[in-house]
Amino acid sequence: MAERGATRRVRVIAWRDFRYTVLTKGFLIGAIILPGIMFAAIPLLPLLIDSKTAPLTGRVAVIDPSNSIAKAFEITLRKNPAQTIDLEEDATNTSTTDVALTVESVPDPSRVEELLLQLRDSSLQALIIISSNADGPSTELLIPSEASPRHTTILEKSLREAVTRVRVSKANEDYERITKLLARPKIDTRRVSPDGSESNEIAQLRMLVPAGFMFLLWMAVITSGNYLLTSTIEEKSSRVMEVLLSAVSPIELLCGKLVGQAGVAGVMLLMYGGVGLAGLGAVAMLDVVPLPHLLWLVVWFPLAYFTVAAIMVSLGSAVSDLREAQSLIGPAMILLTVPLILWLPIVENPNGTLATVCSFIPPAAPFVMILRLTGANEAVPLVQALLAMFVSAATVVAILWVGARVFRVGVLMQGKPPSPIELLRWIRAR
């Protein structure tokens, strides 16, 4: 059966928009090559994580009239930095740093100027000054301006442990015994699924999963929305718009562009989402993304896309250049950034007042809902999910209706951008 004229025209416009967006260098690099590189880098991740940082070598001078801190500091430095109490919970401990420092105890405080000169020319890695005042002993750590943050952390934490060691010793206690008593017990937490299978619990990762879903959706939708905005402005400024309108109606053109860029957003979603899933698969943690979460993504993607796309395309049709578009797009972008700003409180309390209210505020609603629905700690009431879906769908219809009317008039307009009153006139024009 022959394809109907309108369907054919929408398909041809959509394919051209899709093809000439996906085949641009920017898109190939951003949406295909970059995730490809990320995907290829997944097997290398453990190697990268295990790589060592630069060794911490050289001299450290400790001005300590009592000489006790200097000795304790020397002992602490001999330990693996990863084994110090303070560093136990530090994520950066996954990489190791070799420490080979010579600790020089300086009992004479008058040598401070001489040592500071050495510090400034980097012949000294650190200068520690221990002094006493009415409030008790105070400790200063001076480091060269170019010292690495990682090395500074090691010095700080080792010094902190050294001071603690001296305090414990002064109290006639055995430091090693106390540290063993205070060592944090390791808790092996596992989630047990309804089928009885168990999986390791990593609470932080579970908090990040909804954010990952939301960022993925946001990135795909906003990126394709921007392509839609710029391509519409380009078609207006290159005067190709009237050529197109000689062959298609404004509504066919609008539909074609929306469908074409939906494909672009879909490709981005698949590429980045695929890399994310592959990454989780590589570390055997695919269970943090159950199938219902992916289904929710499929449900909310079109609602999020068409809301943003209709705003972008109507703005693109109303203005003559990108600068004008950026000034008009401000209010919509503020609402769209709400889920980016509030993702943490929403994920922590997905059924709280903030999350519930934001679920019904377009155009942020789809992003907020994906945050709530993919969070693991509380189930969102189904009625709220359905209501939010209805609100978002109604918003899509309303924005598309307004967008189509603005598009119909705006595409042939040149010159200064319309005032709000003119925009209203365009919307009401027959």
Binding site: G5, V12, S238, V240, E242, L245, S246, S249, L412
Partner: protein, 323 residues
Amino acid sequence: MSNIVIQLANVNKRFGVLHAVRDVSFEIQRGQVCGFLGPNGAGKSTTIRMVMSILLPDSGVITVLGGSALDAKDRIGYLPEERGLYRKMRVADFLRFMAKLKGISRADADSRIRSWLERVELPNVSQKRCEELSKGMQQKLQFIGAVLHEPPLLILDEPFSGLDPVNRRLLSSVVRQLKENGTTILFSTHQMEQAEDLCDQILLIHKGEKVLDETMSQIHSRFDPRTILAQPANSIDTATQALKVVAGIESMRWSLEQKSFEIRLLAGVDPQRAMVDIMRATPLRRVELQRATLDDVFVKLVGGSVTKFEATSATEQVKVNHG
């Protein structure tokens, strides 16, 4: 089947306070070439955009190929006034895209593209990007986009502007061939010679109002200036004295530009008879009855503040001026 391809009835269009098109009505018959003339800002492009359903009229009815242009876009070819191409697209891809929009299969489109590129003397450009072509070449490319699907109705907005004389002639001959093949053509232009050469019908619009809607022969008969050009063989003074006695002359003046007398005749005087009388009165190198050009008609109708009433009684207006 109706022979009327385009019909406008009492069409109006306003842009804010500007009344761009005022109560315009006209018809274009099948197979006709209609020149759409008017000064800049007269409302030609707005009218054409309404015919194409790119703009909607505020009031009035527009029928194109028996219905709305929206339903007949595949059967209309349109070259807009403002040229536009996808700059980064290759020539063949752009034309293929336009062909697909008009419902032509890829294989058919490719053979038509090859043929048309040769016909408008654009060989070896199919793999070039549109932005690499000169302005004139881009215009020809866009013209191909308008005719590729062999539409029965072709609407061309200023098709010859910006073209050099060689390409103007080339495009003009293509338009003539399309006319011979039965295509109905509406084209706006400021090139009066081209319009006179190609058109069966002339529509003149001024300040949004139609001021002329006639066939070329009607225009020639209605805008007969009744002026004889006579170049004397002897001195001007001698010839002036001799011509004073010829009957039926209303006025006479020497034209330095034409190096001839411009002799205006009284109403009702037979120009053929007057020419014989003038030749008898004085020896002449040349004598001819001046014919109104479209250029003259255009200047006459839009040069001053012409109203619809004045246009419909244009013949009388000429008489009054000469009286």
